[in-house]
């Protein structure tokens, strides 16, 4: 579809461009940081001295929030974001950030085990809030699917575990976490298949499904098959290189998924007609939902020709 046709056609779903790579960065970095915090808390039971990973996690979350700060229209009013904790998941996400940083800092400075765990749980809650934030945006069919929350949570855990395994280059004692990485990668794959199946069943803009179809196969191979094999091999034979490779692949694929979700597959709802009006002496007719595949309730799926289609 040419740019001109996109501008002329305000009926069909169109790719949203308001939330760009900066918004995607918040989900990528924030989720990875949150996931890294919880797995670091787990790893700290056997491996003291993982404070640099907590620093990394904090830096990731901070990077995500900084990206958002550069995206909003009125950054000097940023603290207004706390005014609607009652219903807004964006407010709740923002509310989680200060205690997350506080307990992460306590873990770094004081090396308290309880601080690691509270920071980890807050990191998990942060990733959950991000998933709920997306899901509440019902104007984007790909986001309002309930399975998107599961996807954001599992990929955040996967990215965090991936980063932990990449850190095995410096902490070889983390090698056994390759088994955990394999497990969460497999879980993410199952959640992804479930999300995609539910999306097709519910109906979605054709642009969304095209974006996911193009992404699906490389995501499966690079983001799941290869990391699982490399993680298991690395854990079994104790190869930190293989483990790090698996971790980078798993984390990178998660970041890629979030970018596709926010910037490539995020088509709007578009408009639809259950019925076309009776005009003059004629009768009402069947409706249409341009640009949709499946779903749409009572609507009759149709393949409408748009005005100026040849422009």
């Amino acid at each position: 579809m040419s740019g001109t046709r996109q501008i002329l056609d305000r009926v069909s779903p169109r790719l949203q461009r308001r939330w760009d790579a900066r918004a995607a960065t918040n989900f990528i970095c924030g989720g990875a940081g949150g996931g890294l915090l919880i797995v670091t808390a787990l790893a700290s039971l056997w491996n003291p001295g993982l404070r640099p990973l907590v620093v990394l996690a904090m830096a990731l979350v901070a990077a995500g929030l900084t990206a958002v700060w550069f995206e909003i229209g009125r950054p000097r009013r940023a603290f207004n974001v706390y005014r609607n904790v009652a219903t807004s998941w964006m407010s709740r996400e923002a509310m989680l950030a200060p205690p997350l940083f506080a307990f992460a800092a306590a873990a770094i400075i004081l090396n308290w085990s309880i601080a690691y765990w509270i920071a980890g749980l807050l990191g998990l809650a942060y990733a959950y809030a991000q998933g709920r934030m997306l899901c509440a945006n019902i104007g984007i069919p790909a986001w309002r699917q309930p399975g998107v929350v599961d996807m954001i949570l599992t990929t955040s855990l996967t990215e965090g575990t991936g980063l932990l395994c990449a850190a095995a280059l410096y902490w070889p004692a983390l090698a056994p976490f390759g088994f955990l990485l394999a497990a969460v990668v497999l879980l993410r794959f199952l959640v992804w298949r479930n999300y995609l199946a539910n999306l097709r069943r519910a109906g979605a803009p054709s642009g969304t499904l095209e974006a996911f179809d193009a992404f699906d196969s490389p995501f499966a191979w690079l983001g799941h098959a290869m990391p699982v094999l490399a993680a298991l091999a690395g854990a079994v034979i104790g190869s930190v290189l293989l483990l790090a490779f698996a971790g980078v692949l798993a984390a990178g694929a998660g970041a890629w998924f979030k970018y596709v979700l926010v910037c490539r597959a995020a088509f709007t709802q578009g408009f639809a007609l259950p019925r076309t009006p009776s005009r003059g002496g004629g009768a009402a007719g069947a409706g249409g939902a341009p640009g949709w595949i499946g779903g749409q309730g009572l609507l009759q799926p149709s393949v409408p020709r748009r005005r100026n289609e040849d422009v």
């Binding site: 305000r10 229209g73 005014r83 609607n84 509440a136 007609l273 076309t276 009006p277 020709r305 748009r306």
Partner: protein, 217 residues
């Protein structure tokens, strides 16, 4: 809710002239590229049964507005009369409401822009910096409606307190009024016709009804 202002748009009458679009732009001085109200042009069906429908759209002023729920600042609020408004002084321009709206009703512009590059005198006079970098949308000409409380006139009946698009419609396709009043123009019109609301299945409870046939058909 003692009052609920709704719009009833008769699709049988709309001819796609875009007069409502122009009236809205004139009344609200929206910048280039921003159309709080616009008329969509849909062709449906396959030859020989091809139909063309003109669909005026804007903010639906939902009774269950997703934009209000997701807004982190409470800038978006729903009034007792059903109008959904934005407080430009609180909004941080995060765009969350834009993602939440299934009707493509909201927009944010970050830079001043003018129809012909350099601003005309009218554009200079009507430029509002408070509307930069915040979400904006149709507000059912809330300033005009609020005048009804002062003047005692009736929105949807008296033009001075009726949205500009309603006043401007040359086909008499757009109607406005209080649906909680069974004797209002919109209540009587909707009782005598068949109508639908856009994307009702999403649970937004929109306040814009699209009439597609007579009740007796």
């Amino acid at each position: 809710m003692s009052k609920r202002y709704v719009m009833a748009i008769d699709l049988r009458r709309c001819v796609g002239c875009q007069t409502c679009t122009a009236a809205c732009k004139s009344a609200n001085a929206t910048p280039p590229g921003v159309q709080w109200r616009r008329v969509l042009d849909l062709e449906t069906g396959e030859f020989p049964d091809v139909r063309r429908t003109f669909l005026p759209v804007a903010c639906m002023h939902c009774a269950n507005p997703p934009c209000m729920h997701v807004c982190p600042t409470t800038a978006t609020k729903k009034r007792d009369d059903g109008l959904v408004t934005i407080d430009y002084d609180i909004c941080i321009g995060c765009g969350n409401c834009i993602m939440a709206c299934p009707y493509d009703a909201r927009s944010i512009t970050h830079e001043p822009s003018y129809a012909y590059g350099e601003p005309m005198a009218s554009e200079i006079a009507r430029f509002d910096p408070e509307r930069l970098s915040v979400a904006t949308k149709c507000n059912f000409c809330v300033d005009r409606i609020d005048q009804a409380a002062v003047t005692g006139k009736t929105p949807g009946v008296d033009p001075e307190v009726t949205p500009a698009c309603v006043n401007s419609c040359i086909a008499g396709a757009i109607h406005f009024g209080d649906i909680m009043d069974p004797n209002s123009n919109v209540s009587q019109l909707l009782a005598s016709t068949k109508s639908f609301r856009m994307h009702e299945e999403l649970g937004t409870d929109p306040s814009v009804y699209y009439i597609w046939d007579g009740a007796e058909t």
